[in-house]
Symmetry: C2
Subunit: 330 residues, 2 copies
């Protein structure tokens, strides 16, 4: 008897995470577990038509690696960096994919792969991943800050991503935390959280600190061109005063960012992901300690502050989960 | 033939706005139009049991003034200041109703008036009022800042109030906008929006400014004890340099607050209500001008920045509308 593909059967979801360097793809089961993850280089300089083929190839490879057939895949979630128009499935402005600006990515990929395709911001996808299948899976609302070159952020409130009305929901890296005398942000404005607490900002602050404290353990790595967030964490653990102060200040900046969302969205859970989680639980304790001084007692007593749990897979998992949610609501 | 009260008929909603000085009550029609509004003194020092009777009397008077009978009233929305537990209908911590802290206000009022009763934060109620029947009635998402002694704020996102998981949703008056060297806030922390841009903060900044510029037109009113936000606006329009600078700075502070919610919630509309709207359209233009320098172009080009439209009735209308929404969703 031939297998009838309309039988009740588990439905699977394909997640794609489109970055400036790599495309990640994975098939995700109904519980948020990725069956297989594959990578392809993005090659953004080749433009969106080539990119579309690369995305389709990554998707095919992920399905093949999962051991499933395409008929098991219900829909596709596609996370991408930058400002998006999620409803139109279009990239509005992505600094690392400039040639793709204006490209109607989701409709084109949907046509090519013959599956409903939902475009969402990659930081929002990561937050939804943590909500669906990560540290936030028992919560209703969470905010995830992902600390890297910049600061990505995603807000899930009552189970829904706050995408915003112009694709700028959860752009919390660009919240003003120091309106007067603030540091210059990558976006050209000043005083933003990202200008203080991203890994790039940490390294920039270390370079400034070395001007005043050239005897710091950070000096040699700076001269060797290996001054990274990891190196600063390592030297802080070794007791270097400059590195220690830089790490403590970073904890305070992140705490200020957390306090703003705690007095705005008031989630169950605030998560920190990305590079700084390598600074360890001691760093998380520093953030918690600073938050206590910044927010109302009700907020402090009841809001969990944790590291993210899904690491680099959060975007793929969350994009797949968002596709599932959108299909189930349709 | 006797009238059958189960016939299809318009349903009306009762809104209550519980402040530290006055209780406002009004019956609101299905389109958000208040039929009648009444006031009672709160007398918070008499405690919540007396307050409950006063709320019931205000409700009765509002129904009577509307020309309807109680049978036309489906449910009650009750806005109150402070930190609340909306699910339990309980006041957690209200600085102007200290004796009421812990009181299960909504269940008790529901019992007394025999109608479902929904407790919500008064600033959230005002925001929902603007969303339902005010300036925001064609939008999906808005943020309302109400400028008074403090700064109240409410967020409506995709038609739902962001109440927060611990009653602190939309507490944007207590967002940090100046983490280092910030002004002292009424809550005891520093650098919050409210510490810069509330009417109280404006007056405090004027007093400080008079130390340096005693020749300002604000001097006489300070000595007469009549230094108010209105007086500062008036002197700014007369060209007084100190007053003018104070008003411009206030516009900038409010713009910073707006920019944070524009990069977090990303609403269709940001509204400013309360005392500062007396400063006029020129003041609104100043805020818009400052916002332009603070946010991403997409945000600036597409987000409306306006004064609130419902004035002091927003809380009653919004509380009634929230009761309607909750009943319709149940």
């Amino acid at each position: 008897m031939a297998m009838d593909s309309t039988d009740a059967r588990p439905r699977y979801w394909l997640g794609l995470d489109l970055g400036g360097t790599n495309i990640k793809a994975g098939v995700v089961d109904p519980n948020g577990k990725p069956l297989a993850l594959v990578n392809e280089p993005t090659q953004p300089e080749l433009g969106p038509e080539v990119g579309l083929k690369t995305l389709a190839r990554a998707a095919d490879r992920a399905v093949e690696a999962s051991g499933l057939d395409w008929w098991a895949i219900e829909a596709i979630g596609l996370g991408a960096a930058g400002t998006l128009d999620p409803a139109a499935g279009r990239i509005i402005d992505a600094s690392n994919l400039r040639l793709w600006n204006g490209f109607a990515l989701a409709p084109r990929l949907a046509e090519r792969l013959d599956r409903p395709t939902f475009l969402l911001n990659d930081a929002n996808a990561a937050a939804f991943g943590e909500y669906w299948a990560g540290v936030g899976r028992t919560t209703q609302s969470l905010v995830l800050f992902t600390i890297g070159t910049g600061i990505g952020c995603g807000i899930v409130e009552s189970g829904r991503i706050i995408e915003g009305r112009h694709g700028l929901g959860g752009e919390c890296g660009h919240m003003t935390i120091q309106m007067d005398g603030g540091r210059l942000c990558s976006c050209g404005r000043t005083g933003h959280l990202e200008a203080y607490a991203s890994v790039s900002a940490l390294v920039a602050r270390a370079v400034e600190g070395l001007e005043r404290e050239p005897e710091s353990l950070l000096g040699p790595s700076r001269r060797a061109g290996t001054l990274t967030g990891h190196e600063i964490s390592r030297c802080a653990r070794l007791g270097d005063p400059l590195a220690d102060r830089l790490i403590r200040e970073t904890a305070r900046y992140l705490a200020v960012g957390a306090s703003v969302v705690m007095h705005t969205v008031d989630p169950d859970l605030v998560l920190f992901g990305g590079g700084m989680s390598a600074a360890g639980l001691e760093f998380l304790e520093m953030i918690r300690h600073e938050i206590k001084t910044l927010v109302f007692p009700t907020s402090w007593q009841n809001t969990r502050i944790e590291f993210a749990g899904l690491g680099g897979d959060a975007g793929v998992i969350g994009a797949a989960g968002w596709a599932m949610k959108r299909i189930q609501e349709a």
